[in-house]
Symmetry: D2
Subunit: 336 residues, 4 copies
């Protein structure tokens, strides 16, 4: 149950709603986001919601049978578009392309990637400055200095920054230089990180867990939303299966299923999903026909010299080709 409150609701009215819901054995949790105030009810008994709906201070009330509530499309039928400012929108008829290297490696690489983006009308650049690595002895990224350097160039070019945040203590230092905080597949259920990102006024893109179910991804989004932040993107990036001809199994089935279950935009990551350079293009195009609101993929001036993930990274010529084909594919889909 989702109860949307009027801005001017009195504390007394709110108390009465909570008491009334308690009578029906519903526990209400208060949620305040950038956009509105809600009471989220969890419980199992059945009752006539009009008995609550007519109480003063309530602007709307919905029964949501899913275990996730605020991210459910049963509540918010209209698709959400995330507005990143400067005319950059994602979702609900706004298709997003995000590209760039696995790791930010230095100024020259930043400059060349931004040129590539600018030349092709790409407004969102991805790149890692904090890298999750299986081995403690591997390169862990350029850190905050790399981010600041990147930000300088990106800002000048009107390009938004998409980058992974790995831990709570990084949020504050990264905050002013980031447009989209990415939560990696190993952190999809790092509930503490999700809680903290709920308090931030920046878009959060949550990647599906390495073997996370679609429902678990929606629960993770519910954490961020109920923490106060409604600006959420979901990202399918491949799951772990028995098949080892591909790095992961990009699960495109998740895209129509998610589009049906949630109002949030859904992004596909074919680079990590299939993990083989020559197959990134068909998977990117397929994910658009499956219904994706955007595609994130890895590109690099010289993939064979990339610090990480070179085997799945396009060079700029391949990237340019892909961008054209993605736009044509999206145009066809939009006409359907």
């Amino acid at each position: 149950m989702i109860i949307q409150l009027e801005k001017e609701i009195t504390p007394k009215s709110k108390e009465e709603i909570i008491k009334k819901a308690g009578d029906f054995k519903y526990k209400l949790t208060e949620v305040k986001t950038q956009v509105g105030d809600y009471l989220i009810g969890t419980g199992k008994s059945e009752f006539d919601i009009r008995e609550i709906g007519f109480m003063p201070g309530i602007s709307d009330i919905h029964i949501v049978s899913d275990n996730y509530k605020l991210v459910s499309r049963k509540w918010k039928v209209k698709l959400t578009a995330i507005d990143l400012g400067d005319g950059v929108l994602i979702g609900d008829d706004h298709f997003a392309i995000m590209t760039g290297p696995c790791s930010i490696e230095g100024e020259e690489q930043i400059r060349q990637t931004i040129d590539h983006c600018a030349k092709n009308g790409i407004r969102l650049m991805r790149g890692g400055v904090y890298k999750p690595r299986s081995s403690p002895y591997s390169f862990r990224g350029m850190g905050i200095d790399g981010l600041k350097l990147w930000y300088e160039h990106a800002k000048a070019a009107g390009i938004k920054i998409v980058t992974e945040v790995m831990q709570v203590s990084q949020i504050e230092e990264m905050h002013d230089y980031v447009d989209i905080f990415q939560v990696g597949a190993r952190n999809t259920q790092n509930f503490n990180l999700l809680d903290e990102l709920g308090k931030v006024d920046k878009t959060v893109m949550i990647k599906r867990g390495i073997s996370g179910t679609i429902d678990e991804l929606l629960y993770s989004a519910e954490y961020v939303f109920s923490g106060g932040n409604e600006k959420i993107l979901l990202c399918e990036r491949g799951i772990r299966t028995f098949e080892n001809a591909t790095r992961n199994t990009l699960d495109l089935n998740a895209i129509p299923v998610l589009k049906d279950k949630t109002h949030l935009p859904v992004i596909a990551d074919p680079s990590h999903g299939i993990g083989i350079r020559k197959h990134v293009e068909p998977m990117a195009l397929a994910s658009i026909m499956a219904g994706a609101d955007g595609v994130i993929y890895e590109s690099h001036c010289t993939p064979e010299e990339a610090y990480s993930d070179g085997q799945q990274t396009l060079d700029f010529k391949e990237s340019e080709e892909l961008i054209k084909k993605m736009r044509m594919t999206y145009e066809l889909r939009s006409g359907f």
Copy 2:
């Protein structure tokens, strides 16, 4: 190693080739198909293939490092098109749409489905007359009589028949009424059935095993090919994973991987793959962008009354819509 033989090779020349290969520690297996005669060599030592290649009776020789040989694209770079006669082709620029019910249920249903196909220019109709069922107490299909009935109507309408063969003993009785023998996901590694289908002059469509790897699917095709039958289609129909929001996980990654590894046409089955009616369309379109040479999906005059698989079956209106969109999507892809 694949050695293609000249038609007029003498037994003595053949013997000498076998002996020579033996000297290099290669075992040769003779393969005769509808199209040509081959000697397939398995072994591990390295040698200059010209030492064999110049021997009399050999028209061509190739090193194929894959464990599957005749189905490998390393040998046959040009993509194969399967010719079913009457202008029906599949693969290498010929896109195939196959539709029809899960089970053939009776004359009226056959008639209506054929009308639907004819009206929309569909030349390939699917349907089951022998049904694999988990429980021995379930409906197992109309059998050979259903097939004959279907054949009568299909022939009159110029429509080809795609249907599953479950066991060796059915091949002969079904033979004259079938255009494409389908091998189901539970039989992908029924090597005996594959051997016998190698002797048949009809196209064979092999579905990927329920948890079969891409390589295993190629090995299964190698059985049919080396048995003597070069007319083979491969079909991705969803694998088993931990995710249970969908019936199976249609693995579209397999499509570009297969197109890269083999010259055989690749078909996608979104109905079994995702198993949810409303999501069949996006997955069908996605599979085309992923590179599929054809799509097979379930349709029925009244899905809610179908004997089986109704939950994933389109009605004819939805089917008609999908056919149009698939053709537009294929056209876009062809232009790339």
Copy 3:
């Protein structure tokens, strides 16, 4: 619903039972096994079973809510022991050890293995004469001649033969030389083969499918049972998962779950399950504590020279050691 019939039931009484069940919207299937006659009812309505139970010709009646019926422990609470003759029993307090090579390779190997069995009191020897192979170019086993040779020696030593049957056409020729027909993991859902094995008066051991669920294994057993053959063993042999440090993932969870759901004996195959020689012993012992009624594992006089599966095969010294430990472990478990 399972209705056990009296031997002397009249056709008229049977007809009346079928009619009555039809009134309750239950479809009855007749099943005759080596042991008894049954009517198996499938349907969903609820009714008082006494209305059928009191009819003439019925010796007993049970509601079985599982989709599998005759193999369910809800019907037959007492555990089944399979009697192979000559004092060899499996299940319900009779622990079975089966060992031998992956493939039967020749007389000397047969002789040595039988000696090894005899010396250690093992009454069941495994070995393959028909081998399922991914590649059509691999060794496919010694065939029926190998089986006859083996039989001669085994019979003389009082040892029972466990071997895989791959296709219907092999059943008859193998019949007189086999004690336990093994159905391999690729054939678990080869329903035609299961149907035919239902007509045979020999024990059938069904291996779990490569990615088969526990329920699917029970359904496959139901095919054999309802086909007329009550002598069935189930075998856990490892499932396919994302983990590739082991050949398969031997799923010991399946053992207590199966022991709870069915009255049939359950065998564990640690050789195929984990696929690494040095780890076969701990997994064999673990499967006993998990509740297995028997263990099947591969042993060979010279594993490093075995035609197949050498990497997971014990030599006779290791095998002897394992046999002792298995017996001690089973003894401890029996005391619990």
Copy 4:
């Protein structure tokens, strides 16, 4: 490559070693633990290690080809025993039983569980005070106050505390009240948390990721070890597969594989692994025969009233029974 340094090594000697290794294209990382000082070398070239081994300041040097180093048994052949003080040891001939509720719920429950432990000679009690929950609206545990309450009672009874730490910020406040910090399955690759636990002088038990490979678990342990903390336990708690007859698939194969690859103790968690109360016992006993150094399982005074996980929790009578059988099983195994 692992270089163990002498305590009194001079900075100059250390520098020379690093330089020399650099000449061989090896990068050295300094690691200081509670026990010793190391230089960990990663690189791929081959050279004669004696060229480094003879340099001053080195006490020992080992080539370790695994990607994990300090946790590898190729370096430390002897099994590690973790000493928790007061005579409580785990690993290398010291078998550990840990039991208690999923969540700490209140004083009475704490008291009863401690009585149960004390009565049965159990020295390690598990319980959650911070609970990871999929839904943000669920009970998240009693927190630090619950932990302090628990600690008071446990200390008096000479019982050690095993509890999950979910985030870096909790480490300090929990530190004085915890004996074993448990890292949950959703945090196995929370590298930041692992880094911080490397700085703590308390034992850390790392659970295998929900779909984590065995190698990934070892890498996670390498993070803690190279962070400075050698006191590490690994815990197999079930992986995610297609099978849904059980909550997870407890992967007992991982136990012998881990015991072979690492010197660290390995614990099994059958409660989460199989997730069904009546099957916890056989899986616990099986894991001992598979080679586990300990078993952790859930017990509760009144499982049916537990706040969480009641369906997989034993009551104290069942727990007592299991403890006896585990000890007998361990005794048998020790004799092998």
